[in-house]
């Protein structure tokens, strides 16, 4: 790797370059190992993740050489590392973060999932009074830390996030943790491309399936004709062929250009974390990718999920979980054998994976499993489930239970500790409202209506019968023989913080035209949209309807998204919510944060269009 001269050499030292070298020599493999007893890093890790703790931080953006694929590129790194340093805060502290920009373009940092004043949220032209950090200048963020758990931070300028501007935030609670652990690792998952992200975006506009090398071939067709007969084959294909859509369209950007990273380490090398047999190891898994959903499992270990998006939930034990872009989950694992365990995070389209090893010995690496078959979308994923079609147009809430798709109590296939709580009122189950019944915790009973703005050349589909699919693990994870976390498994560990019924409901349709690569909400892209107004203090329900064939991870800044998973008493809080293709989902928001906030799809190349400014006044 040759040295590239930097505009501000002072911001960069050769010793730091090691951190961003994907193929660094051994000895630099150990990840973050934090000793929970002290709540601080046990030792400065020799690996890629620096940990910065305290209340005052200096963070510096610099163009930084990085080599993950054999080709050297420039990362928009923070403090010279990809991912950026782990920031470790304590609930109740006030943190001060001076961010200096040595890039040639405006920069910013957004503290993802943090409850803070709008002016500190770091979204240029959206956050109150914040216009980004010009080249050569600094901006000092300061805010009180009012929460604990696992979060992350990233750029909200241009496509910097694609080129390395992201890192983990760990906030220790003011009081004791509700669960004990012996080791604590942050696992930052991400996707790296050697391509300029602007070029990726332009390429998607010119040929939207450019990165998809899993399209149907005539041999697929012949196999299906053999299996189903011509009539069966045609019945299956007609919808796709008339809509001109591909059931193999899972990810816009794939392993064709991406190298998937775990804590900045390539799959070839593999991140490593140490454990001793019998220890409880907490993994703070953060999906910091630009465009990639990850399905994560650790063959041989079950994972007890203890927090979602930083917020503690009723523990639930699973074999696998899906992380939408920007979601985080904290899990606890307890390896019982002195052997390496592979942490395996497949990209949702199975075009690649990020990989690490939990191991008693750094010399050992776990066996890497085969990837699952590439997922294929169904009619249900297009919101056109034939079973549901007959009910389209009238009471959808009733459909949900009739179709057995949803009811809050249907935890079929899941046998988990977290479900025990529902045991006490098993007898009253049939009395409990179904999802979609309208009361707080159960989602909306409103019929789905498509606005006039949803018709035109910028929209290629509208879901006719979008269903609540909370207990659906999603395409590629259904019936795979493993216990997969679903949103129906999420229940807040304490009482619902704001038990009010929603005063009103807002429907937002996630819309787009895949082949033109245009994205919008309600058919109106950000550039043409009025801000969405919320009244300070109100409790409002937001119903998201996905009128596209992509999963969209929707992120509301500044306020919690209280996801309606079927128990009004224990509504879990999230900052990012996956809306499955052709599905709908509802959450409640307490508008307790004044000012301007961003509200958008967290897929980086959907974000320019599928975006709203929210104003609380």
């Amino acid at each position: 790797m040759s040295r590239i001269s930097l505009p501000h050499p002072g911001a960069f030292s050769p010793s730091r370059r090691r951190f961003v070298t994907g193929l660094a020599a051994g000895g630099a493999l150990l990840g973050l190992g934090i000793n929970p007893a002290t709540g601080r890093a046990a030792a400065t890790p020799p690996g890629r993740q620096q940990v910065l703790s305290g209340t005052r931080f200096d963070l510096t953006y610099s163009p930084t050489p990085i080599n993950l694929t054999g080709a050297e590129r420039q990362a928009t790194a923070i403090n010279g590392t990809v991912p950026a340093p782990v920031l470790r805060w304590r609930e109740g502290d006030t943190v001060t973060l001076k961010v200096t920009n040595h890039l040639a373009e405006d920069a910013s940092i957004h503290w993802h999932g943090l409850i803070l004043p709008s002016s500190q949220d770091g979204v240029p032209h959206i956050s109150d009074g914040f216009e980004g950090i010009p080249p050569g200048e600094s901006f000092t963020y300061q805010f009180p830390v009012k929460q604990s758990g696992t979060y992350w931070y990233h750029s909200h300028s241009g496509f910097h996030e694609q080129t390395g501007s992201y890192g983990a935030i760990i906030i220790d609670p003011a009081g004791p943790e509700p669960f004990a652990c012996d080791r604590d690792y942050a696992l930052v998952l991400s996707d790296w491309s050697d391509e300029d992200p602007n070029h990726i975006y332009a390429t998607l506009k010119k040929l939207s399936h450019y990165y998809n090398f899993r399209e149907r071939t005539i041999f697929d067709a012949l196999a299906e004709i053999r299996e189903k007969g011509w009539a069966g084959y045609r019945a299956e294909r007609d919808m796709w062929d008339t809509m001109r859509m591909s059931d193999r369209d899972i990810s816009d950007v794939t392993g064709y250009t991406y190298t998937f990273l775990m804590n900045g380490v390539t799959p070839a090398e593999g991140w490593k974390g140490l454990f001793r047999r019998g220890e409880r190891v907490r993994l703070r898994i953060i999906n910091a990718a630009a465009m990639t959903f990850f399905d994560l499992r650790i063959p041989g270990l079950e994972m007890t999920v203890v927090a979602a998006d930083g917020q503690n939930i009723e523990p639930v034990t699973v074999d696998e979980l899906r992380l939408g872009v920007a979601e985080t989950y904290d899990v606890i694992v307890r390896p019982q054998d002195d052997r390496p365990y592979t942490v395996f995070a497949q990209a949702i389209d199975r075009s690649g994976y990020a990989r690490g090893t939990l191991t008693p010995d750094l010399a050992l690496a776990g066996e890497v499993p085969e990837m699952d078959p590439a997922p294929i979308l169904t009619h249900g994923d297009m919101g056109m489930d034939m079973a549901a079609m007959g009910h389209a147009g009238h009471d959808m809430g009733a459909n949900d239970s009739a179709d057995g798709g949803m009811p809050a109590m249907d935890h079929s296939g899941h046998d988990m500790g977290g479900m025990d709580h529902s045991g006490h009122d098993m007898g009253g189950m049939e009395a409990r409202p179904a999802i979609g019944s309208g009361t707080a915790g159960y989602g909306s009973s409103r019929p789905v209506v498509h606005a006039d703005t949803e018709y035109g050349p910028h929209i290629d589909m509208r879901a006719d019968a979008p269903q609540y699919r909370l207990d659906d693990p999603g395409v590629g994870l259904r019936d795979n023989g493993r216990r997969v976390l679903t949103y129906a498994d999420l229940f807040n560990i304490g009482a619902t913080p704001d038990p009010r019924e929603p005063g009103r409901e807002i429907d937002l349709h996630l819309t787009g035209n895949m082949s033109r690569y245009m994205w919008s909400m309600d058919g109106i892209k950000f550039a043409d949209a009025e801000p969405l107004g919320l009244k300070f203090g109100e409790r409002v329900r937001i119903n998201l309807i996905n009128d596209t064939m992509m999963n969209h991870p929707i992120h509301l800044h500044g306020m919690w998204s209280d996801l309606e998973t079927g128990d009004p008493g224990r509504i879990p809080r999230k900052h990012t919510v996956i809306v499955q293709p052709g599905a709908r989902i509802s959450y409640l928001v307490t508008a307790d944060a004044m000012g301007g906030w961003a509200y958008h799809c967290h897929l980086l190349y959907h974000m320019p269009g599928m975006f709203r400014k929210v104003v609380v006044s």
Partner: protein, 232 residues
């Protein structure tokens, strides 16, 4: 044309997506659909069919060209300059000017057409033309793709030309003038570059065929073609 291509190419490379609110940058795409040698046994013609567009999601300027050279002479050359506006999820309405530089005499036309993707994945370009001399014409092209693998693609193509009246000077007759059927098998080394081999069959009908016979030309012709497809 070459200069235009270079200028547009520079523009493509210089295109940068603005940071905020820039969901719809001005982009440009140069698409060489066919650049091929047609093996006929005599003078092997060289064929170019290319599109260039520049613009945004729903509004574009669109240039189309078709050039055929035989024995170092340009026998056919056509260029269209169109305003292209998205009118449906998969369809653009294209309106503009068509200029036939060869064969002589030159002809100019108003062009109006639809370009897009029909149900069942047929790529269609259907246009009507009104000429300065009161001539009217219509052209339909359709194309389909069968994937053998993710990179090996078999593509049948059809082109039909119709004219309102005879134009003896340029050798076209009224009614169904000519038809072209092609079958090309390309291998996408990368998405942007794919060499291909194929067969091509053309047939002239009615007065168009008669004019061809008068000039001692064949009225139908089958060729083996070798070429490449490229875009950026």
């Amino acid at each position: 044309m070459k200069r235009t291509l270079i200028a547009l190419g520079t523009l493509v490379l210089a295109t940068n997506v603005p940071a905020a609110g820039g969901d719809d940058p001005v982009l440009a795409k140069v698409m060489i659909d066919r650049f091929e040698r047609q093996h006929t046994g005599g003078d092997d013609p060289l064929m170019l069919e290319a599109d260039v567009w520049i613009g945004r999601d729903l509004h574009k300027l669109w240039f189309k060209t078709e050039v055929e050279r035989v024995g170092g002479e340009t026998e056919e050359a056509e260029i269209q300059a169109l305003y292209s506006r998205a009118i449906a999820p998969y369809w653009d309405l294209q309106v503009g000017w068509r200029h036939d530089a060869m064969p002589k005499p030159e002809r100019d036309w108003l062009a109006i057409g639809f370009n897009g993707l029909a149900p069942y994945w047929f790529e269609v370009d259907a246009a009507a033309f009104v000429g300065g001399n009161g001539q009217v014409a219509a052209r339909f092209t359709g194309e389909y793709e069968w994937l053998f693998t993710q990179k090996l693609v078999l593509s049948p193509e059809l082109e039909v030309n119709l004219h309102g009246k005879d134009d003896r000077a340029t050798g076209v007759g009224s009614g169904l003038s000519d038809l072209e059927l092609g079958l090309r098998l390309r291998y996408e080394i990368v998405r942007e570059f794919a060499p291909y081999i194929g067969i091509n069959w053309t047939k002239k009908f009615g007065d168009t065929a008669d004019f061809a016979r008068d000039h001692g030309e064949d009225t139908s012709d089958a060729q083996v073609v070798v070429g490449f497809r490229a875009w950026f």
